[in-house]
């Protein structure tokens, strides 16, 4: 708080919440990374080839079956060469390769970031404090509890808490944000991260992490996908895909005896081609890329999820706990109106209020100047224009601030603004009285949850009250719409504040949140989370203080601010490097988008099968039963071309959908019914129709190749 601040604060803000560096609002950032860059593809190719190792492939049952099929057809092509067998074998290998490429590209995007992080970690020399003094040791030799000293220019050797001193630290290596931050002992801004650089002053840090397990190490593992485990929903989906694969395997294997009976024995190459076309290769190929890309989308927004499980849980969240200050409101009270007493015009009041705030550099003071200008066209005057001016700064004793203007003829005009009781006393001292309507205005503003400031003046006409300035919490632009959106998505928002119930209610109503928790203690927060969870709801929250840690650990999605304490960062399952509490909403959307992408591509993949049947079944059996040629509704040129076209389409559709898998399907907040209808139409119906056109198009091209067309 600046020394000139003249605004009485009824209670301190719950946390000295940092103002988010980026303006938070409904504007959504979209990374353009979904577009495939040829260089990126080329760089990922070696990885994709390496992933052909069956020990790696077996993790994806669907693609493993395709790989086995590729080996089988290749062997058959070698044993009995022919263009058809070779063509099928080649396209099956490509199918597997495309799947691996999708995963490699998704991973590759994290790799670049991991390399930057690695650079920050290497070769740090620590200055460890020992009984006798200081000892230079490599960063890797530090143990939990060691005390190290860092001075301007030093790199912090490991994660820890500042126990002594205050310093400005450049955390750009971790956060990408170049503006330095203040780290000081005690309080909620004591955590420092290994790899960041001290810019000024000297601090002593107590190390809290073992080497190799620092925040940066975990970040590297996360962005590289090394620590990736299948999430619960991914496991469930894999079970469904595996069982569908078994069903189609049975359908294909048993088809041969049926075919023999019909006098239309099929070659193994054709049966493998049918199998690969039927099993859900599209989603099987892209499933892990979707998961990695989902994590990556969080990384792009500077959020680190400690587990994929947390990202999925974010999509399921039905209660959001949001801190009032900094998240819902701008964090400072602002002037919202001038209420003059009888006989004074609003303009006169505004003029006096502006005058008294000219030297007030607090956001509250500035907001009065701005409001006077906007509402009454009063230009902020400079000191020189007014003659001799003496500013009266705010003090805790007077609880007022103002200005004494010595005009022509040595007439002194004193203007004061401040807490109602203080100004009341000031006026009474000078023989004036506070009129009844001013008192009423003060009470009314307080009752609404706002803060009233009395403005008084003493001049030739004696001391008198001009009116009241209404200060209130200003809800961030667009928050109301945002909460309405969340409500449509089925998410309840609860505002958490240290304010009294009256103030909280007013802000809650203005912001449009569903509920609020006033005068909240950490215990209250914890109880609220447990209550919500007992009702089967998943809860997400943000926090930065040590006293938030239990609640962060209890919440299903706990986003710790990077500016917070290491206890909070340990407890949460995500860390927001930008320390922007509004981002919780985006995190929920990313979680939902991840699940929707999986569902949409599964639906698409299954719907594709219909067209493939219509291509392959007549190709297999029209010779034995000419009637079945009626099923060849695409009029494909020849049986071999039909089968090959289905296989080629099946491979190409994977490539075509890689950008969608990486970027995620378009997500617009909407109710479940509307969303389902839209996605069903797009991916269900689309998945049914697209392959008919696609296979026909491929067939037209394939039949141009000499010797293949009929």
């Amino acid at each position: 708080m600046s020394p000139t601040s003249s605004v009485p604060r009824p209670e301190p803000a719950p946390h000295p919440a940092p103002v988010p560096p980026a303006p938070a609002g409904p504007g959504r950032r979209r990374t353009a990374g979904g577009l495939l860059d040829p260089r990126q593809l080329a760089a990922s190719l070696p990885d994709a080839v390496r992933k052909l190792d069956p020990r790696v492939m077996v993790k994806s049952p669907v693609m493993f079956v395709v790989e086995v099929g590729s080996v089988l057809t290749t062997a058959l092509a070698i044993a009995d060469p022919g263009w058809f067998a070779w063509a099928v074998a080649a396209w099956l290998w490509l199918t597997v390769l495309f799947a691996n490429l999708a995963e490699a590209v998704a991973e590759g995007r994290g790799k670049a970031q991991a390399d930057t992080l690695r650079r920050a970690r290497t070769d740090i020399t620590a200055r460890r404090l020992t009984d006798g003094g200081e000892q230079r040791v490599p960063g890797t030799a530090l143990r939990v509890g060691d005390l190290v000293v860092c001075e301007a220019g030093d790199v912090v050797p490991g994660d820890g808490d500042v126990v002594e001193g205050v310093a400005s630290v450049d955390e750009s290596a971790v956060t990408g944000e170049s503006a330095p931050v203040i780290r000081e002992s005690g309080g909620d801004r004591s955590a420092v991260t290994g790899g960041t650089r001290v810019l000024s002053d000297r601090i002593v840090v107590r190390i809290t992490s073992r080497p190799g397990e620092t925040f940066i190490d975990r970040m590297i593992a996360l962005v590289e996908g090394a620590a990736r485990q299948k999430t619960p929903n991914e496991v469930a989906l894999n079970i469904l895909l595996a069982s569908l694969t078994i069903v189609f395997l049975l359908a294909t294997v048993t088809l041969q005896p049926f075919a023999v009976r019909a006098g239309a024995e099929q070659s193994t190459v054709v049966l493998v081609a049918l199998l690969v076309c039927l099993i859900p290769t599209t989603i099987g190929a892209l499933l892990s890329a979707i998961g990695i890309a989902g994590m990556d989308r969080l990384v792009q927004r500077n959020v680190l999820a400690m587990s994929g499980r947390a990202v999925e849980a974010a999509g399921d969240v039905s209660t959001l706990l949001l801190d009032k200050t900094g998240t819902i409101t701008l964090g400072n009270r602002q002037a919202a109106g001038f209420v003059p007493v009888d006989g004074v015009t609003a303009r006169e009041l505004a003029d006096a209020a502006q005058l008294s705030s000219l030297a007030d550099e607090t956001p509250e003071g500035r907001s009065i100047v701005v409001l006077a200008k906007e509402a009454h066209g009063l230009r902020a005057r400079r000191e020189g224009e007014l003659g001799h001016v003496a500013f009266v700064p705010f003090t805790a004793q007077t609880r007022m601030s103002g200005v004494d203007v010595t005009g022509p003829g040595a007439a002194v005009r004193r203007v004061r603004k401040g807490a109602a009781s203080a100004v009341d006393a000031w006026v009474a001292e000078r023989g004036g009285t506070v009129p009844e309507d001013a008192r009423r205005a003060v009470d009314a503003i307080a009752a609404e949850g706002g803060t009233p400031l009395l403005v008084a003046v003493e001049d030739g006409g004696g001391a008198r009250v001009l009116g009241v300035v209404h200060l209130k919490d200003v809800v961030k632009h667009g928050m109301r719409e945002r909460f309405a959106e969340l409500r449509r998505m089925g998410i309840r928002t609860v505002m958490i504040t240290g304010d009294n119930a009256l103030t909280a209610k007013a802000v809650a109503e203005e912001a449009g949140v569903d509920d609020f928790l006033a005068e909240a203690t950490p215990e209250d927060k914890m109880a609220l989370i447990k209550r919500e969870q007992a009702g089967g709801r998943l809860v997400a929250m943000t926090g930065d203080g040590t006293n938030d840690a239990p609640a962060l650990a209890q919440a299903d999605v706990g986003v710790a601010m990077n500016s917070g304490t290491s206890a909070a960062k340990e407890a949460g399952n995500m860390v927001d490097l930008d320390s922007d509490p509004t981002k919780l909403i985006e995190i929920v959307e990313i979680g939902k988008q991840l699940l929707i992408t999986r569902g949409a591509l599964t639906t698409f993949s299954l719907a594709n099968d219909m067209a493939k049947y219509f291509a392959i079944i007549p190709a297999m059996f029209a010779a034995a039963y000419p009637g079945l040629d009626a099923l060849n509704i695409m009029r494909l040129s020849s049986p071999q071309s039909a089968i090959l076209s289905a296989v080629i389409f099946n491979a190409l559709v994977i490539v075509a959908l890689v950008p969608l898998a990486l970027k995620g399907v378009r997500y617009r907040p909407a109710g479940a019914d509307a969303m389902l209808r839209r996605n069903l139409a797009l991916y269900g119906l689309g998945g049914l129709l697209v392959p008919f056109a696609g296979i026909k198009a491929v067939d037209l091209l394939v039949s141009l190749v000499p010797g293949i067309g009929s």
Partner: protein, 553 residues
Amino acid sequence: MSPILAGVLQVSALVAALALVHRPFGDYMATVYTSPRHLRAERWIHRAIGSDPDAEQRWPAYLRAVLAFSAVSTLFLYLLLRLQDRLPLSLGFRAIDPDQAFNTAASFVTNTNWQSYAGESAMGHLAQTGGLAVQNFVSAAVGMSVAVALVRGFARSRTGTLGNFWTDLVRGVVRILLPVSVVAAVVLVAAGAVQNFAAPQEVTTLSGAVQHLPGGAVASQEAIKNLGTNGGGFFNANAAHPFENPNALSNLWEVFLLLVIPFSLPRTFGRMVGSVRQGYAVVAAMAAIWLCAVVAVTALEYAHPGAAAQAAGGAMEGKEARFGEGASSLFAVSTTMTSTGAVDSAHSSYSALGGGVLMLGMMLGEVAPGGTGSGLYGMLVIAVIAVFVAGLMVGRTPEYLGKRIGAAEMKLAAAYILVTPALVLCFTAAAVALPTPPDSTLNPGPHGFSEILYAYTSGANNNGSAFAGLNADTQWFNTTIGLAMLLGRFLPMVFVLALAGSLAGQKPVPDTAGTLHTHKPLFSGLLVGAVLVVAGLTFFPALALGPLAEGLS
């Protein structure tokens, strides 16, 4: 009246009657399965079998009870058939051969009622009434019990218990199947069906030949045969026999009987989970598929090309003149889609594509509306799969009726949908590939293939209807179809009960605007799509080589 108008009126009357009965009957069944009170007769039964009717069972205990009861039933029925010649009321018939006795015991215990014998020339009164008819009641009640257990899995939270199998079984028989069967049998007798315990009558015809007219407790067995979606006929001709199904009215009544429980159970489901609209969504999907199949088969039968068919106004071969194409098609679709398997016409003689639709009706997994109980639990498992994929598309971990569909639930649902396709395809492939089994087929080419495919489809899906033409009374077919029936019945039950246990243990997820709503028409449409995709994609190649190859040539 034109035959088409007659057909439309029959279907409309049937739909109206089902719509009328579905609510009170479904509600009544919900009361039966949730009421805390036991009837005195039920207490006696529980005392006799030594069960505690109020003891709650977790899923393994419930499953053990189902399997133990069914195993004992199979053994009992097997012995009854093997020892027929030494027991009273045998009418002088000999003991049934081991393979056929196994097949028949498996068939009736699994609610399949596949018959590789001719009732009037193999089974005495004791076997028919004391063995087969008893299984008609209890096997249907077992199916309903398992369905109710799954519904409890959805309705209950934070508990592992699913109710008590013995209570559900006894109540299903005593309070639902018995009373309705009595009414149904009286109506059938009034319509002209036979009901006696007399020895066969000797009749001298005009031409002087002596005919042997067997009677028996036909009407009563006919009632439960349809009500319990069993399908095992008293006579070899099944419901085409005039003693079983004398006229058009009795025909319509029988179709109503075999549809009434499967179409009412979704209402029971809706009641028990506390939202009747959830039940409506399920029943709408079932009805849509059933109605489409009725229209398709009827149209295909009327449109059958060929001189004889044109002269008769449709494909009348293998159909009773007293029913005609419309009523026969209605019966055929209803019986194949309810896992009943009773027939009033020869399915083999349907047009190739019409017969294909009947086969597809079974391949869909008997869910539209399916057998007593098995139809509901089959449809709910499909719903779990549909919810999983659709739920992802609304951006949440999928949930159905407030229960999350995670890896454990998915594993069980996936295993469930694997069972019958695996049985049908593997057994058919083996039968086709081995040297001797194909000798049983009557026809060459695709139609002969359809005969075999139909037999295993009917067995594994516990339908029991036969395509005719196939001589199934061989060691190979008796044994493999018997296995297909047992595995096709009890493996899915294992997965269903395990799924029920897993669901019942969860805590419910509250309904929000972000929840996929499963009580809306969109979801019914999705269910229809899932049913068609799951079965259609699996069986398309096989169908192409059977009915499609025959019908499109």
